[in-house]
Symmetry: C2
Subunit: 253 residues, 2 copies
């Protein structure tokens, strides 16, 4: 089997934009809610509102999947739920392993949003020997030493890293070596992985920093001249720089 690609509709699955893929779960959630209320069909306008996006964008997104709508009517909710689920690969079971069972790791293990979408927490792994055997969310924590075997035995291809930053890369390497090809990283670390392995990162403090930026902008709209109280910042070890100063020099003063 070479680079076989002749049997795929080509129009589909071939080129779904990344931005679209990122929105599919959003649509799926909105559609699931409609489904539970037994709503048979929905227009792009309604669904877009429910998902918090533009209707034109939604239609274009769906167009990448195929022509699943009916002009003059809208989209069949159940049908679309199935199509999107299939496209996202949610019709199959995905065993997931969480490495690093601290506060966050334990919270994720208990998180209902995972199990409800075809993701099954297959294993919890931690480096602390004292935790081995301790049940978290009904699952016994296992020790890092057995990581390789645990991943293999459970056929895990998606790993979640919730370790301290210092251990993240090492854990990542071991996960990859064991066969994991998708990683969700919560540790504030830049992971380097070989070709073919996907990494998505969720960084809580970065999100807050982005909010702080906008918050500062909103607040400092008028009082843009009072954040001057902070020291320009130390002169640092200023290695090879003479008194000439390569320092602040600027500082809005």
């Amino acid at each position: 089997m070479a680079t076989g690609r002749t049997h795929r509709p080509a129009t589909r699955s071939r080129g779904i934009p990344e931005a679209t893929v990122a929105r599919l779960p959003l649509y799926l959630r909105a559609l699931t809610a409609l489904s539970e209320r037994s709503v048979p069909t929905v227009s792009s306008e309604e669904l877009a509102t429910a998902a918090g996006v533009n209707s034109a964008k939604l239609r274009k997104d769906f167009s990448y999947l195929g022509s699943y709508g009916t002009r003059g009517v809208g989209y069949d909710v159940e049908y679309l739920v199935y199509q999107i689920s299939r496209e996202l690969g949610l019709t199959q079971d995905w065993p997931v392993a969480i490495v690093g069972i601290g506060n966050l790791g334990a919270a994720l293990a208990n998180y209902g949003g995972f199990a409800s979408r075809g993701f099954r927490v297959a294993a919890l792994i931690d480096a602390d020997p004292a935790m081995a055997g301790t049940p978290v969310a009904g699952i016994a924590v296992q020790h890092t030493d057995d990581l390789d075997r645990i991943i293999s035995d459970n056929g895990v291809s998606i790993g979640v890293i919730t370790t301290p930053p210092g251990a993240a890369q090492q854990v990542c390497d071991r996960l990859v070596a064991a066969g994991v090809t998708s990683i969700l990283n919560f540790a504030p670390t830049v992971l380097s992985v070989p070709e073919g392995v996907d990494v998505r990162k969720v960084d809580l403090s970065i999100e807050l920093q982005i909010l702080a930026f906008h918050e500062q902008r909103k607040a400092g709209e008028d009082s843009a001249a009072e954040d001057e109280g902070a020291p320009p910042m130390r002169a640092t070890p200023a290695s090879r720089k003479g008194p000439d100063g390569d320092m602040p020099a600027v500082m809005p003063a």
Copy 2:
């Protein structure tokens, strides 16, 4: 363009691209690490590698902040740390309130990454009366009834929502009414907020679904002939009622 003024910290927050803002925390983290190792200067190439981005992108990002580098040498680490911190608004203290103290809320309250960057958990709020007074991460949980006063008293402008999806919008409305203008939402809900309020969402299950999509693609590259097994069938009498709901999210309320 920049008519070569070079004195004012460049175009203030006016024209910093959103994509750049999102990367500044990344640079800051890498720079902080260098600073702790007392590295005086760093080139765009080195820093880019450490931050996991392209060096041209990094230089362009920094150019939006101003001309803080020295040609032939690189960037002064300490100076850059200060400039980015200031730009992000991290030179001031940001009191944060977390609403919804379930597993995830508690984990965030304990998360060290917040405090280390100028973010201070000023209040923990939950709707469960039984939790009122209970200390979490050294802070007593307060009841939702006092939300308004708590936000005002602490001057909170950034709120974190970790409630079940059903309560998210209501909590959001109350936070906004109380004066919060930035929200970090962990609930799998589309929040609608008035103009001027920023919302960033962190959706754990969406991240996994995106990974699953790519995972499926990688795995199904050759075996693309078994997706015919499940009958999609249109216009269904709503027979599927499974566990597909996304009700249990963070914690029962």
